[in-house]
Amino acid sequence: MVQKKTFGSFVAKGIIWIIVIAMTLSCLLPLINMVAISLSSSNAVASNQVGLLPVDFTVTTYQKLLNDSQFWASFWISVKRVILGTAINMFFAITMAYPLSKSKFRFPAREIYIKVIIFAMLFSGGIIPLFMVVSKLNLVDTIWALVLPGAVPVFNVILLINFFKGVPDSLDEAARIDGASTLTILTKVYLPVSLPALATIALFSIVYHWNDYFSGLLYMNKASLYPLQTYIQQLTVDITQITDTEQLKQLATMSNRAFNATKIVVSTIPLLVIYPFLQKYFVSGIVIGAVKE
């Protein structure tokens, strides 16, 4: 009896391992396939021979990419956008979250401000009126169109409010008794103890700005001004123009698939570089931000 039970649980354990490994591989293998395609000859790609390992290993697409000036122009626009956009997001997140983390006795107007920003988070006028505002302000075709409409990251503000609330009041009190000004308390007391939370929201901003393709599509009239994701989107997924199955088949077998895969792989490298940090901080970010009593 005992042996039978052990055997049963052994099988159960095996099944669990198989399912978990299968689910994990389902996330990994398609990405490895992309890398393999980027390193294969275009003939091998066109005839669908490439699986998890490159076929006719070659780096020609990577060499070609080095000379692709539009790709690097877009890459640079994305880098600038990430730096500028994240800096702006951090500025607004900190300046808004600090006063709003104080009690209503200390800052009675906070109640109104909180209602305003939650309303702003939940209700949007939609893309059409927003587009008109951006174009009325003459921001179209400038990098500001990519960073200003989302300058106040409301979700991150709320996350940071919750974190600041957790900072012991005694720290604030001690600094106050020493005669420190509000701004000094924020920069010298609150920010240094909030580094994990600040890292979390900075990473959220970086990922958002790096991955967003839609503002580029909406606000940039010239392809030369596209950030990287918009550029790739236009290259690879321009299937909205396609109206019949035949064309879709052609697109799937086009020989520049290897080149597109190379662009995708290279565009993903910056995210992989920050991925260890992302993993370290985003779990705490979810826990602070998603559920709160």
Partner: protein
């Protein structure tokens, strides 16, 4: 939300100088919200106009609810509304079941190293954009791609998944679950850690098998979190995933795959029917707003937790 932490001390009431500083700190952010959220909100009155760009908001003719009547008389927009609901509900249900299943199974695996390696890998797709993943998905589901190759082994004819109205929604739901299940499982893994180990010990002394322990201890313990997440996602039911659908669909599958957001984009931005597009957008915003508020208070009532 603003209840003082401790009631025994008299709360510090601050001073006027500090409050002025607080207002000044909030000012720039409020100006940005005013420009990029509240002005567009006022601008959405164009939903009640026959908006002509040359005349602007103030010069265009007011038409009352005519745009809304036009929308509801289009068979297209009714279909779009249904597509949105079907895709959203599919995602809502599968995005609850699969992450719970995955977190329970992962929890059964011993060995920190493997656990952490698996987690590192399954979180990855969440951080990649739909632009990148659309290429990956198109690749996987293409006529000569790996999925069809696997089906071929079982003698099933190849399917043009992304250009087939029978399959498109399933692919959309499935690939969304694939992208997000790792990330969604984070919250359940955290909930699993909070279960009192004493419960399992007592159960195993009573002779309950591991499977029974999962059914009678783990699942009930996860239920409040599942309900909370589902309630909150219910508020987002009209967001069926613009980025994903936009990057994967094509005119062949508009019939089953076109959702409210992609429809607004095409009608408003591509075809230039600003008023109709804005009307659909406003309609969606209002319903979403009501849904999110009700979902939030529902979550607060049933589980004691909420977003705000």
């Amino acid at each position: 939300m603003a209840k003082p932490r401790t009631k025994q001390h008299k709360p510090y009431v601050g001073n006027k100088k500090e409050r002025t500083t607080f207002h000044l700190m909030l000012l720039p952010g409020m100006i940005m919200l005013a420009i990029f959220v509240f002005v567009p909100l006022i601008g959405s009155v164009m939903a009640f106009q026959d908006y002509v760009p040359a005349r602007g908001i103030f010069g265009s003719k007011w038409v009352g609810l005519e745009n809304f009547e036009i929308i509801f008389s289009f068979p297209d927009s009714v279909q779009v509304f249904w597509n949105t609901l079907i895709i959203s509900f599919g995602k809502l249900i599968m995005n609850a079941i699969i992450p719970v299943l995955f977190s329970i199974l992962l929890n059964e695996i011993g060995g920190k190293f493997f656990k952490r390696t698996f987690q590192t890998i399954v979180y990855l797709p969440h951080f990649l954009s739909w632009v990148v993943l659309a290429t990956v998905v198109t690749n996987m589901f293409s006529l000569e791609g790996p999925i069809n190759a696997m089906l071929g082994v079982f003698g099933i004819d190849a399917v043009q998944f992304l250009a087939d109205n029978q399959w498109f929604r399933t692919v959309i739901i499935g690939t969304d679950v694939w992208k997000e299940f790792g990330y969604n499982s984070v919250i359940y893994l955290a909930a699993l850690l909070a279960i009192d180990p004493g419960l399992y010990e007592a159960a195993s002394i009573d002779g309950a098998s591991r499977f029974k322990q999962i059914i009678y201890i783990t699942l009930p313990a996860l239920m409040p979190t599942v309900v909370l997440m589902a309630a909150l996602n219910l508020g987002n039911i009209l967001n069926a995933g613009f980025d994903q659908v936009f990057n994967l669909y094509n005119p062949i599958v508009y019939e089953t795959g076109d959702i409210i957001d992609t429809y607004v984009y095409r009608i408003g931005m591509v075809e230039g029917q600003y008023s109709i597009g804005a009307a659909v957008g406003l309609f969606k915003s209002v319903i979403s707003f009501v849904l999110i508020l009700s979902a939030n208070s529902l979550a607060k009532k049933t589980t004691g937790s909420s977003i705000f």
